[in-house]
């Protein structure tokens, strides 16, 4: 912050200049005693007349060597070059201790600029850190050490730098190809021979402002460093992803070394193919558990601001729902959240407006989505919440952003006065929108007694089951036997009476004869009638209760008896009944007796 304020102040002071001049001193903070080391003054403008500060306790071995360089940044195919002028001094300290070195001054366009000061600790030779022996640059290092007297030893190489080597799926990382060089001027990128295809990644060229060349200490040496290519990568699958090596062509000038009598005075052009090593990224998949169903694929950190144009409109008036998704992450891959407009709304494809930048930490900015829908039917509707689920790389968990649910009141469309047409009415079948299970029931089971389930069922093969078949069967069998016996018995009785009918009738007639002789008229007729009736009853198997002249005639007719005999039977019965109460002579009685006897004889002959 302080720096920034200082910078602003500096800007104000140098209002006359079109841009600020950067002049700074770079040097090691710790050097071993009796070992040469370099201090560089870097200027980003063309300038001269450098005045190094007084350096008591240091011996100037060489310098100032002036070198200029251009660095390049490729951004969206646009090449930007920056200029840099470096003044290099080589010193040697003999006494250990801490030294403060003042500012150097330089003149740029007639104006003097001061650099920053430096603090250098000189340590004893033995305590100096052993020179690192790192893999690929060992040779160069050794060579440079063996020829320490030649500080401008040319060294130029590429490094592949990953911002992170262990990331989550969809979590951005930056890959940069950095050009390290020392002892070379006018370094220029001549071409790209080979570029990795970045399989397994989604690639976003970085929108960053062109990076300037700067000084970096690498393996104990100070290099000019320029980032020649930078890209934002979003891993698309989990696992180990290898980025294949890249190849660049560079041309540069090796400055002339005035001290070497056989060397060239003005330097010479060099051309070199540089290879950036392959790199490996470990990608961890997003956790499966708790993954929301409507996971949008977004990874990063986002906020969502919803706004709706209106919640109360007339039918056929559009409603716009706008979602502003702001944040940092893989914005490009963020799925557009789905809005489930209620039935009766015509929804249109959402309009997406992206305004974001690709920075080192990922894509940052805002994605604005506008959903347009036109309600067709008046009524009250609920617009369900629109949700956006993403993986929050800050908290390492899934998060779901949600809009509120909106209550939409759609008024009946205003009909214009002169619109006399009757609008079309159309009937629609019930439309199936989705299928789901039917909802749970709320009828609670009645509290049941213990063992209620067992008692309510007659199980096949159980005792009760057998009983329900066998008891009725036995009952029926018994009933059949009893009924048969009863019928047989009944049948026997009538048989007996049938067989004895004639005999009984004769006996009654004999008794009637006795009564006739003793002159008991009433009893005589009674006996005559009974004889006839009992005979008919037994022979025709008519119960006494049903014994009437009509039934008798009917039964006789049914058995094919001649009509004269039926009439005769009827007449005898009527006369016997009638004569009981009327006075009659001896001859009448005799005649009645004979008539009855004849009738029975005739009926007997009929074999009823």
């Amino acid at each position: 912050m302080k720096q920034r304020i200082a910078f602003i102040l500096f800007l104000l002071v140098s209002a006359g200049l079109c841009r600020a001049v950067d002049f700074r001193a770079v040097g090691p903070s710790q050097v071993p005693a009796n070992q040469p080391f370099q201090i560089q003054y870097i200027l980003d403008e063309k300038g001269d007349d450098i005045q190094p500060p007084g350096m008591p306790g240091f011996e100037l071995l060489a310098g100032p060597y002036t070198s200029t360089s251009s660095s390049f940044s490729f951004v969206n195919g646009k090449r930007t070059s920056t200029y840099q002028k470096t003044f290099t001094y080589t010193y040697l300290a003999s006494k250990p201790g801490t030294y403060t070195i003042g500012a150097a001054t330089v003149t740029v366009g007639g104006r003097k600029y001061r650099s920053n000061g430096l603090k250098i600790t000189v340590v004893r030779e033995e305590a100096a850190p052993a020179s690192q022996s790192s893999s690929s640059h060992e040779q160069q290092q050794e060579r440079s050490q063996s020829r320490q007297q030649r500080p401008q030893e040319t060294s130029i190489f590429l490094r592949t730098v990953l911002s992170k080597s262990h990331v989550h799926e969809q979590e951005p990382l930056t890959l940069s190809y950095k050009l390290y060089f020392i002892g070379a001027d006018n370094v220029q990128l001549a071409g790209v021979t080979k570029m990795p295809d970045f399989t397994g990644f989604l690639k976003q060229e970085s929108d960053n402002e062109p990076l300037q060349a700067h000084i970096e200490t690498y393996n104990g040496r100070q290099y000019n460093v320029a980032t020649i290519y930078k890209v934002l990568l979003y891993p698309q699958h989990s696992g180990e992803i290898t980025i294949t090596p890249a190849q660049f062509e560079v041309v540069y000038t090796i400055p002339g070394d005035g001290q070497d009598p056989f060397g060239q005075l003005y330097g010479y052009q060099a051309h070199k193919t540089l290879k950036a090593p392959a790199a490996t990224v470990q990608v961890e998949g997003l956790p499966q558990e708790n993954r929301p169903k409507q996971f949008s694929g977004g990874v990063g950190h986002f906020t969502m601001t919803p706004s709706i144009s209106a919640t109360e409109v007339s039918a056929n008036q559009p409603i716009t729902l706008r979602l502003d998704i702001t944040g940092n992450g893989n914005m490009k891959l963020l799925k557009t959240p789905e809005v489930n407009w209620p039935e009766g709304f015509d929804a249109y494809d959402p309009k997406v407006n992206n305004s974001y930048q690709n920075t080192d930490s990922g894509t940052t900015g805002t994605k604005s989505i506008e959903y347009l829908a036109i309600p067709r039917e008046p009524g009250d509707y609920t617009l369900p919440p629109v949700t956006l689920s993403y993986y929050d790389s800050e908290t390492n968990s899934y998060r779901t952003l949600s809009t509120p649910s909106y209550q939409l009141h759609i008024k009946r469309a205003q009909k214009s006065q002169d619109d006399g047409q009757v609008s079309d009415y159309s009937q629609e079948d019930i439309r199936q929108l989705a299928t789901d299970i039917r909802y749970i029931h709320s009828d609670e089971p009645q509290p049941t007694a213990d063992g209620a389930a067992r008692e309510s069922v007659v199980r096949t093969g159980s005792l009760a089951w057998w009983a329900l078949y066998i008891i009725p069967l036995l009952l029926t069998i018994v009933l059949i036997i009893l009924l048969r016996k009863y019928i047989r018995d009944n049948a026997d009785l009538t048989q007996v009476r049938y067989r004895k009918a004639n005999k009984v009738a004769r006996r009654r007639l004999k008794r009637a004869k006795t009564l006739m002789e003793t002159g008991q008229t009433t009893a005589f007729y009674e006996e005559i009638e009974r004889a006839a009736l009992s005979y008919l009853s037994d022979r025709l198997t008519i119960p006494t209760a049903e014994l009437t002249k009509e039934t008798i005639s009917q039964q006789l007719r049914g058995r094919g008896v001649s009509e004269t005999l039926i009439l005769e039977t009827d007449a005898v019965l009527s006369e016997a009944e009638f004569a009981r109460y009327a006075p009659s002579s001896e001859q009448d009685k005799q005649a009645m007796y004979n008539r009855t006897e004849d009738l029975i004889n005739h009926l007997e002959a009929e074999k009823l």
Binding site: T435, D436, I437, R438, Y439, I440, H441, S442, D443, E444, P445, Q446, T448, A449, D450, G451, A452, A453, R454, S456, V457, V458, R459, T460, G461, W465, L468, Y469, P472, L473, L475, T476, L479, I480, L483, I487
Partner: protein, 255 residues
């Protein structure tokens, strides 16, 4: 006085919602709040209690039905199907349970097409499965009584027309008695012997013999209904349509 009653009535009405909810209502509330895991444990507890008291009457079909819904919402299709099947054992004509069972069965992996069955057989099986065992048992018993009554009327009826009718009633009833009796017996062997089971494991390989070294014959997935034809140790021989093989019993749950 009237006012006092009104006040009391209002008070009671106000207090009613504060009454402790029954376990069933609690589980329903959990379900309506999408808290399915809690709903499942609630329903299971109710059913366990009823089973322990031997009081699992038809009414509990509703509990099984709700349990099936909760399992479905949790994505446990095997358990959901099992619960619906159990609900239908108690109330074979419960429409919602049938509907949901059909719905969930469309979401399982295995589709069973028994090519051997023909429409009349299907119709008879559907008819049989539409009623409980006890219904068929009682029908069979009552029809048998009708046979006996018809026999008596035929033997001792006075009028010829009556005797003729009784004779027809008797022989038709006798046929129906046998049919309903067979249905009752089939359902009895299915329910009491628990011959039908649902696959609970995601994927199961049916083997040719009841041990791990057996040849894999075919593959079944969660939710498929199988018929257990034999058991040996920890293994069950199952039949699905024309397929038959051995599966570890722990992969199954009997209905």
């Amino acid at each position: 006085m009237k006012r006092v009653y009104t006040v009391i009535a209002v008070l009671i009405a106000a207090l009613l919602p504060l009454q402790a909810q029954s376990p069933f209502e609690q589980a329903n509330t959990a379900y309506s709040q999408s808290n399915y895991a809690e709903a499942i444990s609630g329903y299971e507890q109710i059913l366990q209690d009823a089973q322990a008291r031997d009081a699992l009457t038809d009414d509990y079909a509703e509990v099984y039905y709700n349990l099936g819904n909760a399992y479905y919402k949790q994505g446990e299709l095997g358990h959901a199907i099992l619960s619906y099947e159990r609900a239908l054992r108690l109330k074979p004509r419960m429409r919602d349970a049938k509907q949901n069972l059909e719905f969930v069965e469309q979401r399982i992996t295995d589709r069973i097409d028994d090519t051997r069955s023909f429409f009349l057989q299907d119709w008879l099986i559907t008819l049989r499965n539409n009623f409980r065992e006890s219904t068929w048992t009682w029908l069979s018993i009552v029809l048998f009584w009708l046979v006996l009554a018809g026999l008596l009327l035929f033997l001792f009826g006075r009028e010829a027309a009556l005797r003729k009718a009784a004779f027809h009633v008797a022989w038709i009833s006798l046929l129906l008695t046998v049919y309903t009796g067979i249905n009752a017996g089939t359902l009895h062997s299915r329910d009491a012997a628990q011959q039908e089971a649902i696959i609970m494991q995601g994927v199961v390989n049916a083997k040719s013999s009841p041990d791990q070294s057996g040849t894999d014959l075919f593959q079944l997935h969660e939710g498929t209904k199988v018929r257990i034809t034999d058991t040996l140790g920890d293994w069950s021989e199952v039949r699905v349509a024309e397929w038959q093989g051995w599966i570890e019993t722990r992969m199954l749950e009997r209905i």
